[in-house]
Homo-oligomer: 218 residues x 2
């Protein structure tokens, strides 16, 4: 938990977090429409959140990596509004929300942190809305790769070489594109010497070029 708290408070927080067991690939952390009791912290591996749509396809809401919190969307309805399943073997810790809520009303910094987490989620969603309504396929893909890169860096991993834990289909469902388009853009970016792509292994060769492509350079 990335907050500055008193030792006492950290202890209390630690007490309510349940120890996580490793989950195999494609196991559910929680399912859409299940009643909401807990949020979850990803410890290792990666998780995708998604919602089933009327026609059977799925809308991927997000990809989550170690240190990130999932399940906050269940608060308003007391029901999970999305499913979450592991993309690979992963460890996920359960944090009962009632305890968290109780603790947060005693410990203002924690309450503040919770508000921030939710609010940041809103902002990220809004960025994705912009991305989806305005940006080309290449821009969207560049954005995703840069996002993963940045998160890797914050976890002290390589920001330029990594393995995608999600399939092209998942990426497509996340970015609002088809698998074919994902493939074509990867090939094109490779031809432009921005990326090296070998199946799910990605190397960002020209980081600045990728940033320019994403249209997110300051």
């Amino acid at each position: 938990m990335p907050i500055a708290l008193e030792h006492d408070d950290i202890q209390q927080l630690d007490d309510i977090i349940k120890r996580g067991r490793p989950l195999q690939q494609s196991n559910h952390v929680y399912r859409e429409a299940e009643s909401f009791h807990s949020v979850y912290a990803v410890r290792s591996g990666s998780v995708k959140a998604y919602r089933a749509m009327g026609d059977g396809r799925e809308q991927v809401i997000g990809f989550y990596f170690p240190g990130e919190i999932i399940g906050l969307d269940g608060i308003s309805s007391n029901t999970h509004n999305a499913s979450a399943k592991t993309l690979e073997t992963a460890v996920v810790c359960e944090i009962p929300f009632s305890s968290l809520k109780g603790l947060s009303s005693i410990v203002p910094p924690l309450q503040r942190h919770l508000f921030r987490l939710m609010s940041r989620g809103i902002i990220e969603d809004q960025q994705r809305i912009t991305l989806l309504s305005r940006n080309s396929a290449a821009e969207r893909i560049a954005f995703l790769l840069l996002s993963i890169s940045a998160r890797n860096i914050s976890r002290k991993l390589s920001g330029t070489r990594f393995r995608l834990s999600m399939s092209r289909l998942d990426i497509g469902n996340y970015l609002g594109l088809t698998v074919e388009t994902i493939s074509r853009v990867f090939s094109q970016l490779q031809k432009m010497a921005v990326l090296e792509v070998d199946n799910r292994e990605i190397a960002i060769v020209d980081m600045l070029g990728l940033r320019k492509l994403s249209n997110l350079v300051d």
Copy 2:
């Protein structure tokens, strides 16, 4: 404020809400990057929230009507992440967030309500993400009209006849479409006898047909 609270608590809440003055059309409630102090309740009229993008265009985040709360996105960064301006003459009440936060840690139902509001925002954004990444122009427009219709009904107004307070450009920026596409779809829906469109005056002639078009029928 749509919550069940004790009389005492309602009084306290009422005390922190500032009285709102009427704002003329196109006045800002708050601006992107301003420091965040308050959230706002729309009393009358309507408001759009939007973010300026690098190239000068704007991304419309949402349209807000009486009874709705705007500004919650500022919580995480202590800075407003969007601007909000009135679409017509409107009355907006300021609610200082520090007071609200303080009160909410004393009054659990209020804290709960705040969590819900934010969480609901997240869910709505996620719905829009699905809408933008998956749905056709006609589906998106049908969705917006149905959303406005439903909100009108909840305010005891007509769900089938109303005046759009926003321009075609705003609608386009909200739905990720161009003005021309909006116009064409309106014309097409009129030809299909689903709508009657006279500039900003809208009449929903075939509600079921519109619901089917939106692909959101249960």
